[in-house]
């Protein structure tokens, strides 16, 4: 029987990507005890994911070293948030055990996930997200000699293609759903932001096609081909071993929403956590930074994280010093969202038998006449599986316009021993709802 260990800290940072790293380092300068928890095997988030297939940029090393240099920062990798048993406390679980962590200030840096949309064949082995493939390759997935088609939307497609190529794969096509005019406007504006000009050059990749999107994946037991619709309205079939398809990013707001934090209502951050000038959420003592406030890249995440970290320990002056930087990258984020808005053709990709919920194998046909997310969940089991609607909930929101309800604990699959170890506190949490 494993027990739940009680711990406490001044500042708890959830997520060790760029925002979380910057927040922890900023808060640590005050001498506060800082704990950073992260679901991944090592700090860096998705953009700086380490592994035998990763080549970390100098900035990633710099921030990792900074985390290690501060004796008052403790990093707990491979750790997930399960629930909030009482105000000011989170229940955490890792591979070995569980911890009840009390915090005085909480900084949510929970990042973003890919928007993964259903199309015929998307459940075949060999289909992954675009950022998903990049993460898998960094973690050692061998792709040498494989023929890969990258599809979906956003600059992440180019980054995924570059990672696959450097691992020895043949990238046959990069299919971007946005129009040439839209992408060209985005590309022309890139020179305004330091370090982003290289992305504009990548847009000239000979495999890159605009107004082009996936129609279906074909194969028996695994991917053998992909059908793409091109800008001229014609469809083309390409033989390949893998399809890496992602339609942009969705802010991870589950934990924030469960804690009562409001979502932003307008602008590019509309589906992210609402924050004020000091990165404070609508709930006192809880801050948010990075992609969970609306995705906009690592530079914006670093600026927001620094502000949140300083603000959480009451250092207003140090926080204000990063405002200019944040404003600059906010403008970049707005341009990014304009350049890669999804067009209506993406909504008609599923066929009646295409599975929308991959956990419970729920096809598109039985969801079409549901009145909303709760109806689909209760009567069709959509979103009732292990991912708890993190994939199909986003898809249903995009396809049908359904808004998912506020998430309930446990936030991720959890061991019975962890819940049992909470004892009477579990009853207290129930009474609160």
């Amino acid at each position: 029987m494993s027990s739940v260990v009680p711990e406490r800290c001044d500042v708890l940072v959830v997520g060790a990507g760029p925002a979380g790293m910057a927040a922890a380092v900023a808060a640590a300068r005050s001498g506060a005890s800082v704990v950073v928890i992260d679901d991944n095997p090592a700090p860096g988030g998705q953009i700086w994911r380490d592994g035998p297939g990763a080549k970390l940029p100098p900035a990633a090393r710099k921030w990792r070293d900074a985390l290690e240099r501060h004796a008052n920062i403790r990093v707990r990798s491979g750790t997930r948030v399960v629930a909030a048993p009482s105000p000011g406390e989170l229940l955490l679980e890792d591979a070995e055990g569980a911890v009840r962590m009390r915090w005085s200030k909480l900084i949510l840096c929970t990042g973003a996930r890919e928007l993964l949309l259903p199309f015929p064949g998307w459940t075949l082995p060999g289909v992954t997200g675009a950022g998903g493939l990049q993460a898998l390759i960094k973690a050692g997935l061998p792709v040498e000699g494989e023929r890969i088609v990258v599809a979906g939307s956003g600059p992440l497609l180019l980054a995924a293609a570059a990672t696959a190529r450097s691992a020895g794969a043949k990238v046959l096509r990069i299919a971007e759903q946005a129009s040439f005019a839209s992408v060209a406007r985005f590309g022309a504006g890139l020179a305004r932001w330091p370090g982003k000009a290289a992305q504009a050059v990548a847009l000239a990749d000979s495999c890159y096609r605009t107004s082009s999107h996936v129609v279906s994946a074909g194969g028996a037991g695994q991917v053998e081909s992909v059908r793409l619709r091109q800008g001229n309205g014609k469809e083309v079939e390409i033989a390949c071993d893998r399809i890496a398809c992602g339609f942009g990013l969705v802010p991870n707001t589950q934990l924030g929403r469960m804690l009562g934090c409001a979502l932003a209502s307008d602008g590019f951050s509309a589906r992210g956590l609402q924050v004020d000038a000091r990165q404070a959420t609508s709930v006192p003592g809880i801050y948010a930074a990075g992609e969970c406030t609306g995705f906009g890249g690592s530079e914006r995440a670093l600026a927001q994280g620094s502000i949140a970290g300083h603000a959480a320990v009451g250092d207003e002056r140090a926080a204000a010093a990063h405002e200019g930087e944040r404003a600059r990258w906010d403008a970049f984020a707005a341009q990014l969202h304009r350049g890669f808005a999804l067009h209506a053709g993406i909504r008609v990709l599923p066929r009646p038998d295409t599975l929308v919920c991959r956990c419970e194998d729920v096809p598109f046909s039985v969801l079409q006449d549901c009145s909303g997310w709760t109806d689909a969940k209760l009567h069709r089991r959509c979103g009732m599986g292990a991912c708890q609607g993190r994939v199909c909930g986003d898809a249903a929101q995009f396809l049908f316009g359904w808004t998912p309800p506020v998430p309930r604990p446990p936030l991720s699959p959890v061991r019975i021993a962890t819940l049992a170890g909470l004892g009477e506190v579990v009853g207290g949490a129930d009474a609160r709802q």
């Binding site: 095997p41 993460a135 973690a139 050692g140 599975l355 991959r358 991912c387 699959p413």
Partner: protein, 82 residues
């Protein structure tokens, strides 16, 4: 630290680069890297790559873990197809 790690997947010894994820090891082991069979009987392999979709869940030393978020260790026992 050794350059390679040896683990056991469904009774077979698999050698991967040290630091590789179990998701990578499933593919190194051969085949399509399938982690589980869905409720409708379909084979599923790692999909989101970052701990969200739960498609790559396997048993690691008897405990349910996500293959994409678990680093291979020497002598680890992995069972696929829940």
């Amino acid at each position: 630290m050794s350059a390679h790690t040896l683990l056991n997947i469904d009774g077979r010894l698999v050698r991967v680069k040290t630091g590789s994820s179990v998701a990578a090891a499933l593919r190194v082991a051969g085949g399509t890297g399938v982690a589980r069979i869905s409720v409708g009987g379909q084979p599923r392999a790692p999909f989101c790559g970052m701990g969200v979709c739960q498609e790559c869940r396997v048993l690691v030393d008897g405990r349910r873990r996500l293959a994409c978020q678990t680093v291979c260790t020497e002598g680890m026992r992995v069972e696929t197809s829940e």
